[in-house]
């Protein structure tokens, strides 16, 4: 039985798992690295394949090699789904190494944790986790190259430097291509990782700059290959009819009509795993296997399947929402406590109590899930998939096919969007099962309807917040009730409360200086597959908290920005731990190393307010809204401007973000993540929602599950990056949470109507 990394992919689980499949902490990585054997540093690895040794390749670690043509090849071991990570991590290696970036070749790694370390591209932690290791990978090679050049020229290596693929010695004016040192490198030891010298930040030529993505040319020429673009000779295409409600079972089916469709060759059943099927198992389904996609689609439409809809057949999400709201009226499970909220609320001069609702959301990656699998006669299997988590895909395929993971090879293609959906390898397992069943390569293609109907959804949620003000108008009590079906419910009927991880996403890490705080969760059962969507429960938590704080500011007669600055109080470093029931996971990092720093948050708020000209009087028909939210260890403040024209039509002329993500690695990709984040969050705020009736999703395609289009998008999005020497943190998810309440607060100022429910469609019609 293989070890399945059940918790390792969750960006918000308490990171206590020390198993091999778990991502290494920064410290573990360095320890492994310093051993210079196995693990990440493979030792100097020379391959002589040419007769005169001219193709000698220098590979001081798993991430980089230099060959006799002075070609530097860098491995991208994290998945590219649009964040630019396939560029930004290799560029760190190249910068430290002193490679000629324009000629660097980037190769995508297969899923292999022993060689590359963690490859779970999720939780905005690629840069956070790998900035330092990538620098070290480059520095190791650089150090050795300088040693070799020192020997060649008989000079002190520390007087050398590396630039543009050469070692240079400024004092003597000598220079040599990396490749001309390969002979000398053969006898050299890997330098001690503890004492390895890294470049100073000011010495970098790429880090901290706008660096274009590696694949941009291929993309605009139509040559970039995604999962759905992979072909093998003799392959078949599979389109699957899956359980209409999670847990539904096939009672009966007839394949006759499907087989009549020209091009359809076979029909294969895939067994499901019940009403709580887990995060890596396929749903029950009938696969139609054909020569091409159209035949498979038509064949599937011709299937006749009788389903037993199972235990979710009466599930109505609207009814569950009412139940959840009722739940929040009572006492819940205590998750954090400071002071005595009940007494404080009892004595408060004013109590404000508000309820917030948010719907289920689907990821709707523009590339629907797809995967190609080739099960071979020798019992091994090779996969090509747009997966965020190739290691989990590998282990999941191995488990489903009862193979040793060593016999499963997972190649990672480009991903046409991920947002958390493509962490789950269910579609990869489908392809693997089908390829073995028919003994041919099979590419599984999901249609958009499949994607909307069978996602791992962002949970719908209800929240009630009670806030108490004393006679002087000070905020003295904060009581937050949150309830939503938890991710854990996807795997187990007993998981009724959000985990500490989910609670720590913008709820229990409430950073404001309020004397009495009580945070509670309530029970809700999962009736579908719940997953994680870009910023996860920060989405609904930030919506409720920052909307409520805006309302409190108004009640207190304070400017919303001044209000938040004053609630943040003195510059302090928070750890929450003594107030938490359970643990505060802090996105998997030690709270001492990454504290909640109110000073850093105040600086981004001050910056955004200055850049957006917050205090300026704004013209009639326009309004600005503000919110600040830290997530994934990155500090973000956001101001959204809305405008109403003569016909009542609302647009978003300007968005300003300020972000402190520590050292900024690729500034262009930081900005692009914020631009994209604002647009992604606009869809969540304005247009998207999934509804369940009788256990089945009502929406089908982009007509009913709407995401914003160009005319609705914010017209200008400005991202102001705080200059920082702090450890770098990620930016994939942090733009999303504060945008939604900032937009809602702006709409309130414009329309005089507070927003308690997402999406706010009516405001935009």
């Amino acid at each position: 039985m293989l070890m399945i990394p059940k918790l390792s992919f969750l960006p918000f689980k308490k990171f206590t798992n020390k198993s091999k499949v778990f991502r290494p902490s920064r410290r573990e990585f360095l320890k492994l690295g310093s051993l210079a054997t196995g693990g990440f540093m493979l030792g100097v690895n020379f391959q002589c394949s040419g007769p005169k040794g001219e193709t000698l390749t220098f590979a001081p670690n798993a991430y980089l090699s230099i060959n006799g043509d002075n070609q530097v090849t860098i491995i991208a071991h994290r998945s590219e789904m649009g964040t630019g990570i396939r560029t930004s991590l290799p560029m760190i290696v190249a910068d430290e190494l002193g490679a000629d970036w324009k000629s660097v070749k980037i190769e995508q790694a297969v899923g292999d944790e022993a060689t590359y370390g963690d490859q779970n591209t999720d939780g905005s932690y690629s840069i956070r986790m790998f900035f330092e290791p990538m620098r070290r990978a480059g520095a190791t090679a650089r150090h050795m190259l300088m040693e070799a050049a020192g020997k060649k020229w008989d000079v002190d290596p520390s007087g050398c430097d590396t630039r543009n693929g050469q070692v240079i010695h400024a004092a003597s004016g000598q220079q040599v291509d990396f490749s001309d040192l390969l002979d000398l490198l053969q006898d050299m030891e890997i330098p001690d990782q503890e004492t390895l010298k890294l470049r100073k930040l000011s010495d970098y030529k790429l880090i901290g700059k706008d660096v274009p993505i590696y694949d941009v040319k291929d993309i605009v020429h139509g040559k970039a290959l995604f999962g759905a673009d992979m072909d093998l000779p003799g392959q078949q295409i599979a389109v699957i009819q899956r359980s209409p409600a999670v847990g539904a079972k096939v009672v009966n089916y007839s394949e006759d009509k499907a087989l009549e469709v020209p091009g359809v060759n076979q029909v294969v059943k895939i067994s499901g795993n019940g009403a709580h099927p887990g995060l890596n198992k396929p749903l029950e389904g009938i696969a139609v296997i054909a020569d091409n996609t159209w035949a498979a689609i038509k064949g599937r439409a011709a299937l006749q399947v009788e389903w037993d809809l199972g235990e979710n057949k009466d599930y109505q999400c609207a009814a569950q929402m009412e139940d959840m709201i009722r739940e929040t009226l009572g006492d819940g499970k205590l998750r954090r406590e400071k002071g005595d909220v009940k007494t404080a609320l009892g004595s408060a001069g004013k109590v404000l109590e508000k309820t917030y609702r948010a719907p289920y959301y689907a990821h709707a990656t523009i590339e629907p899930p797809a995967a190609l699998a080739h099960y071979k006669e020798d019992g091994t299997i090779e996969i090509w998939a747009p997966t965020q988590h190739p290691q989990w895909a590998r282990d999941s395929v191995a488990e489903a096919l009862e193979l040793d993971a060593a016999n499963v090879r997972v190649n990672v293609t480009l991903l046409g969007g991920g947002f958390g959906r493509k962490s789950k390898p269910d579609y990869v397992v489908e392809a693997a099962l089908l390829s073995r069943a028919i003994k041919k390569p099979v590419r599984v293609q999901w249609t958009r309807e499949d994607d909307i109907h069978h996602d791992f959804y962002h949970s719908h949620s209800a929240q009630r917040i009670k806030a108490g003000l004393d006679a002087q108008g000070n905020l003295i009590a904060w009581n937050h009730h949150t309830v939503f079906p938890a991710i854990g419910g996807t795997s187990s009927a007993d998981e009724l409360h959000p985990s500490d991880g989910e609670m720590g996403l913008g709820c229990t890490d409430f950073p404001y200086d309020v004397a009495n705080i009580r945070i509670e969760s309530h029970e809700a059962k999962a009736h579908t597959r719940i997953g994680w969507l870009r910023s996860v429960s920060n989405i609904h938590h930030a919506f409720a908290i920052s909307s409520m704080l805006d309302e409190i500011a108004e009640l207190r007669g304070m400017d919303p920005v001044e209000h938040i600055l004053s609630l943040l109080g003195e510059d302090r470093k928070l750890s929450f731990n003594e107030e938490m029931e359970g643990e505060y996971p802090n996105y998997g990092e030690d709270i001492a190393a990454y504290p909640w720093d109110t000073g850093r948050m105040k600086r981004v708020i001050e910056r955004v307010s200055a850049e957006a000209n917050w205090s300026k009087s704004i013209q009639e028909g326009k309004a600005m809204g503000f919110a600040a939210h830290k997530s994934f260890l990155t500090y973000v403040a956001c101001i959204v401007e809305v405008s109403r024209d003569e016909n009542g039509k609302i647009t978003i002329p300007e968005v300003h973000y300020a972000v402190d993500c520590g050292i900024a690695v690729n500034t262009d990709r930081i900005r692009s993540q914020f631009e994209g984040g604002a647009q992604f969050a606009s869809s969540l705020a304005m247009s998207s929602a999934i509804n369940f009736e009788n256990g089945q999703v009502k929406q089908n395609n982009f007509d009913s599950y709407q995401i914003i289009r160009m005319p609705q998008a914010p017209k200008q999005i400005y991202t102001h990056i705080i200059e920082s020497q702090e450890k770098p943190t990620g930016v994939g998810e942090p733009p999303v949470p504060p945008y939604i309440p900032a937009l809602c607060n702006a709409l309130y100022k414009l329309n005089g109507k507070r927003i308690y429910e997402l999406p706010v469609k009516e405001a935009f019609v």
């Binding site: 649009g82 941009v216 673009d229």
Partner: protein, 151 residues
């Protein structure tokens, strides 16, 4: 199954397909041109945009039997060396994030500029409203179209 002769990117191709097969699947599965993408299959996202006689169409929603003699251009045939002003502007502004929607965006924008060489911001927004980008690159797409329209 019928035989069809298609004029694709200046070349003639023979394919055998049922008459109702959408052009998208002909392009992707039968001609192995992978630059044209599948996003929705219902003319709702624009990922599959190609040109028929210079007009942008959603190839997922046009059966092959309707193509006839019209000349089909896909992203692979938009320009000889990938030197279309839009392809250059797209690189200059580093428009793509995941990149999946971008070929459809470029094909749609190319048809727009063909008809209207210097579109206003509102004209760009309206013309591009059928092309979804889930990653959120709308601002840069707009800027790139403006850059290309000036070149």
């Amino acid at each position: 199954m019928e035989k069809f002769t298609l004029a694709v990117n200046g070349e003639t191709h023979e394919v055998t397909a049922p008459g109702d097969m959408p052009l998208l699947w002909v392009i992707r599965d039968l001609l192995s041109l992978k630059g044209t993408k599948f996003g929705c299959g219902q003319a709702l996202c624009g990922a599959c945009t190609v040109h028929l006689d210079g007009v942008a169409i959603r190839s997922c929603s046009l059966p092959i039997s309707e193509v006839g003699e019209q000349k089909l251009t896909t992203i692979e045939g938009l320009s000889a060396n990938g030197e279309h002003p839009l392809q250059k502007a797209w690189q200059e502004h580093v428009v793509p994030q995941c990149g999946y929607c971008q070929t459809g965006q470029i094909m749609n924008a190319a048809a727009l500029l063909q008809n209207n060489p210097s579109p206003s911001e509102a004209e760009i927004e309206n013309a591009m409203a059928g092309n979804l980008c889930r990653c959120g690159t709308y601002n840069r797409i707009k800027t790139a179209i403006q850059t290309a329209s000036k070149s």
